[in-house]
């Protein structure tokens, strides 16, 4: 793949060995997913040139980044802790990026309007809230016109509506500027909401990578998830949802019902017809039923009794039911 970010970076830190080998396409958003301590942030630092790998290479669209110092890579970073310069106000922070950019993606005023920070421009950065800092940091990164944008859990400090708004802003800039992104996160809902592509890491190594829905369905990927997070990615366009969201949604196996007949007069807004693919027995006796639907595979966690009473078996047609507010 020529128009892609290709990462092959190895680094040893005491007992921790990082061996990050993956490809992130430039025509989408890639999520770098995994538990804390998997080496996600370290991988980001290696791509940005803030740390040096012991071996390997990083190339972007065929250009070897790993030979260049950080300031010459054209790779932008939005840090988890924003890192706004404390001796500059908001406008000066944005201008810092704009002055050094080789081209103009958008003007400072456009960026301020887009991220709803126009009223903050003359404020010192220490007086900003966590959400405001995140938005200024994102605007600043965008004004430096990077060829590739890395984001290290920039929404970790945000919750609820502010988080949804930030995710929506990220999706919007990806679309508006065709800016490829690699987003580090350990939240499966963020992966589904943002990414078209996913790279899963565990203990310094990549365990799964590829397009979101297929990759998320692999045993290696599901093994990274907490028990309550087991589920599947479904395209948002196929779903009726309680909250705002785009991209895809993560449908948890615990939030899915199965019916052996077409359900009627039901409040649930999402009902899909499908056929059972496989039934897996979990260590505690619960059954994880994989059903193929027109929108992709869906996982449902049901009891042994339910499997027996509904005579669930591979090949059997079933209806998958999910509440809109579970999404």
């Amino acid at each position: 793949m020529t128009g892609a970010l290709t990462v092959d970076a190895r680094l040893t830190r005491g007992a921790f060995v990082l061996n990050a080998q993956f490809v992130a396409p430039t025509d989408g958003v890639t999520a770098l997913f995994g538990p804390s301590g998997a080496g996600k942030s370290l991988t980001l630092s290696l791509i940005a040139g803030l740390k040096r790998a012991e071996a390997g290479s990083v190339t972007l669209a065929g250009r070897a980044l790993s030979d260049a110092p950080a300031h010459a890579r054209g790779v932008g970073v939005v840090f988890q802790d924003a890192r706004l310069f404390p001796h500059l106000n908001v406008r000066q922070n944005l201008a810092f990026a704009q002055k050094r950019a080789p081209r103009t993606l958008l003007t400072l005023e456009d960026a301020a309007a887009r991220f709803d920070i126009a009223a903050l421009l003359e404020r010192p950065v220490r007086n900003l809230s966590g959400g405001e800092k995140s938005r200024v940091a994102l605007a600043r990164a965008l004004l430096s016109a990077p060829d590739f944008l890395l984001l290290d859990e920039p929404f970790a400090a945000l919750d609820g509506a502010r988080r949804a708004a930030f995710l929506a802003a990220l999706r919007a800039i990806h679309t508006a500027f065709a800016l490829p992104m690699l987003v580090v996160t350990h939240q499966i809902d963020d992966v589904a909401a943002l990414a078209s592509h996913v790279v899963a890491m565990k203990a310094g190594a990549v365990v799964a990578q590829g397009p979101l829905a297929e990759t998320a369905a692999t045993p290696a990927f599901q093994a990274l998830l907490a028990r309550r997070d087991a589920g599947a990615a479904l395209p948002a366009s196929a779903l009726r949802r309680g909250g705002e969201g785009g991209g895809a949604a993560w449908l948890r196996a615990d939030h899915v019902l199965l019916a052996s007949e077409a359900p009627r007069a039901l409040s649930a807004r999402n009902v899909f017809e499908g056929a059972i693919d496989a039934i897996e027995v979990e260590p505690d006796g619960a059954r994880l039923v994989r059903t193929r639907t027109p929108h992709g595979a869906v996982l449902a966690r049901v009891t042994e009794d339910a499997v027996r009473d509904l005579a669930l078996a591979p090949g059997k047609p079933v209806w998958v039911i999910a509440k809109a507010h579970a999404l």
Partner: protein, 228 residues
């Protein structure tokens, strides 16, 4: 109120110390920034060199300056022939001796300011396409500026009181190189000069305290300004 002669001494002290700070500040900033960076070859040699004036006797510093910058010294001879400049036994020479003596003090204060600068801001600047030199001017120096100022003020206050190196290299010429401590020394050499020495000591003490207080105030102000 200071007498005319005392005002002359104070003016000499201020001129000598101020010029010393202005001369040594850029060099001290360069040394301090280099020493605040992670280990590099020759760092410990640089560190030791910067601290030499702190451990050598001031008279020896003055003597070494005479050897190098005296009219027959290698640098002094060149300056004499090329520019007709004589540093030994001049007000500028007193500043040079003061600058050398204040140098370690300045490097120390400024280095602490650079070391206290959060490396994460430099990383953020790097990924916004700022080169290492750009990062020094746009991030490291402004963030360390209050510490740099405090270092300069401390060095100025200390420079007002420099004695051994100045008297050896620049001698004790009233109106030219006779700074406060040299005047106090001269007063003590004269019978009945104790009253005059005491008055000068009072000025010296007041200036030193004022210098330290303003350095402290600068530090406090910077902490308030940069606490994000």
């Amino acid at each position: 109120m200071p007498t005319g002669e005392e005002l002359q001494i104070l003016a000499t002290s201020f001129t000598v110390a101020l010029r010393a700070v202005v001369w040594s500040l850029p060099v001290a900033i360069a040394f301090a920034y280099a020493l605040s960076r992670p280990a590099f070859p020759g760092k410990s040699v640089l560190d030791a060199f910067a601290h030499l004036p702190l451990v050598l006797p001031p008279v020896l510093i003055g003597f070494l300056l005479l050897l190098a910058f005296g009219r027959r010294g290698p640098i002094g001879g060149w300056l004499d022939q090329t520019f007709g400049v004589h540093l030994a036994f001049s007000s500028e020479g007193a500043s040079l001796a003061t600058a050398v003596m204040a140098f370690p003090l300045m490097v120390r204060a400024i280095r602490l300011a650079f070391e206290a600068t959060d490396e994460r801001y430099l990383e953020a600047a790097a990924v916004l396409r700022a080169s290492p030199l750009d990062r020094f001017w746009s991030i490291a120096l402004p963030l360390a500026a209050p510490g740099v100022l405090a270092g300069a003020v401390t060095a100025f206050a200390a420079g007002l009181g420099e004695f051994g190196a100045v008297i050896t290299f620049a001698s004790n010429v009233p109106g030219e190189t006779q700074t406060l401590p040299l005047a106090i020394y001269a007063a003590l050499q004269m019978p009945g000069g104790e009253a005059q020495a005491l008055r000068l000591a009072f000025y010296s003490f007041t200036l030193a305290i004022a210098g330290l207080a303003s350095a402290e105030a600068l530090q406090a102000w910077s902490r308030r300004r940069l606490d994000a």
